[in-house]
Symmetry: C2
Subunit: 279 residues, 2 copies
């Protein structure tokens, strides 16, 4: 089939590679508002051609929206206006606001809301990688709102990419990603700012940075163009988690202030429970 | 030479492997208060024999203290009491309190205070790894307080392990590690507790956990026996950094509460500055 990928960056580009490699798409059309990204995507062979949105939608069987979540809000109704029987899917990190926007659109049944749980701290077409989605989880939201053939095609696609499909409603999804993705990014950004603040005073500090520091601060390299809209659209859930996180940090603070070794040990032992969950 | 390693866990065990591999030690004597750890260390070949502290110190040229920092406080004066011309080094994460304790000891010139900047979230002899220290930084503190031959031997040892030596005074060291190591562990422990709190309510949450989450929460698997004493001994510095970190998190919170996208973007762009520092 022919697939149009709107936004040929990290996710769209990696999706393009996978769709070709698994012979899911025979032809991939790229669309990108950044001329530079579009040219780069052609140059490194992510897409077969670059077209306008209108042309691309017309010539495709499946349209994949892989743009920042604020752009999805504008773009999705526009794409649904343009389609006939084509299938549309997104890969964005937030689901409730997007589904709300199209809830009265006559073509909304052609849309499948998805979120493959993969990413890196890099962005742009040159950040696209081979084998990106293999073995990871992907969420399909509100599947009962989509036409059966649309849902089937998207399920087949993700299965062929080697992903484990999890079904959820949009509300659940948005709460869960606040916990397992968004808060990690906020703590990482804040940690980078904490340390960079100090670095102004002390030049030598980073010669000591070891692997532990690097892994907790790695996500702080992530792109604001992607993350500002995610945090804003998932504001309430992210605030809930952030408040909980600050209150957890305050427990550590209280232990240190009071010299309470027993409780500190308890907090760490509790945190060790994460071993059950991540290998 | 013969090296005594007191505490044959993650660091001591990895050191034992490296000392043998680089032909720095011909014979390694292990000492461990845990009979289980001592037996395991023999069984997997980390050490050549297990002896009592007194025997081991007597028969060794170099004594390496690789026990939790609260144990170093008790053990170091005891070892210095036992030595004649032997050289003693530690590998602990905190330096000021330890140097304070031995400041009037007649044998303190035989001691070299060091901190190789390497570790993992695992512990015990079975956590020891080959090639652990290669390419990493190591700190030597207050080098002017050690005898020249002692300092020379320790410098040679770290050079042969492939480590880059950084000299610092103890006070500087303790401040820096609060920023580049201790705070990462606290945020990771607190993040684990935040998410585990939620998990009580929602079982499905972790099916979605992806690489970003895993890297920020990995350190939360670290051992309280090691970290409680580190945090307690470096309390003032860790509290400084923790307060700064909480205030950085509050900036993110304020942005979300007020819907201030511009400032949120600014905070993230500032955090992106970490790219200059970690690759």
């Amino acid at each position: 089939m022919t697939v149009a990928i709107i936004g040929v960056g990290l996710i769209g580009g990696s999706m393009a590679i996978a769709l070709k490699e698994k012979s899911i798409a025979q032809r991939i059309i790229g669309i990108d508002t950044s001329k530079e990204h579009a040219e780069k995507a052609m140059q490194i062979g992510l897409v077969d051609e670059i077209k306008t949105l209108e042309e691309a939608v017309k010539e495709s069987d499946l349209i994949v929206l892989s743009v920042p979540v604020d752009a999805v809000e504008n773009l999705l109704p526009k794409v649904l206006d343009l389609i006939d029987q084509q299938i549309v899917m997104d890969v964005g990190s937030i689901k409730e606001p997007i589904l709300e926007i199209i809830k009265d659109h006559p073509n909304k049944v052609r849309f499948v809301a998805t979120h493959p749980m993969w990413g890196t701290e890099y962005s742009g077409p040159q950040a696209a990688v081979r084998g990106a989605f293999e073995g990871k989880a992907t969420v399909i939201c509100e599947k009962e709102s989509s036409d059966e053939d649309a849902l089937q095609l998207v399920e087949d696609l993700y299965s062929k990419l080697g992903m484990q499909i999890v079904f959820m409603n949009a509300r659940e999804h948005d709460v869960h990603v606040a916990y397992v993705s968004h808060i990690s990014h906020i703590t990482s950004f804040a940690l980078a700012n904490t340390v960079l603040e100090k670095e102004k005073e002390e030049d030598a500090i980073f010669s000591l940075a070891s692997g532990g520091f690097e892994s907790t601060v790695r996500l702080a390299k992530s792109n604001p163009g992607m993350w500002v809209p995610i945090f804003m659209q998932n504001k309430d859930n992210v605030l809930d988690v952030l408040n909980e996180h600050i209150s957890q940090l305050r427990k550590f603070k209280a232990c240190l202030e009071k010299g309470n070794e027993e409780y500190l040990k308890e907090l760490i032992e509790n945190a060790n429970g994460i071993r059950k969950i991540i290998k």
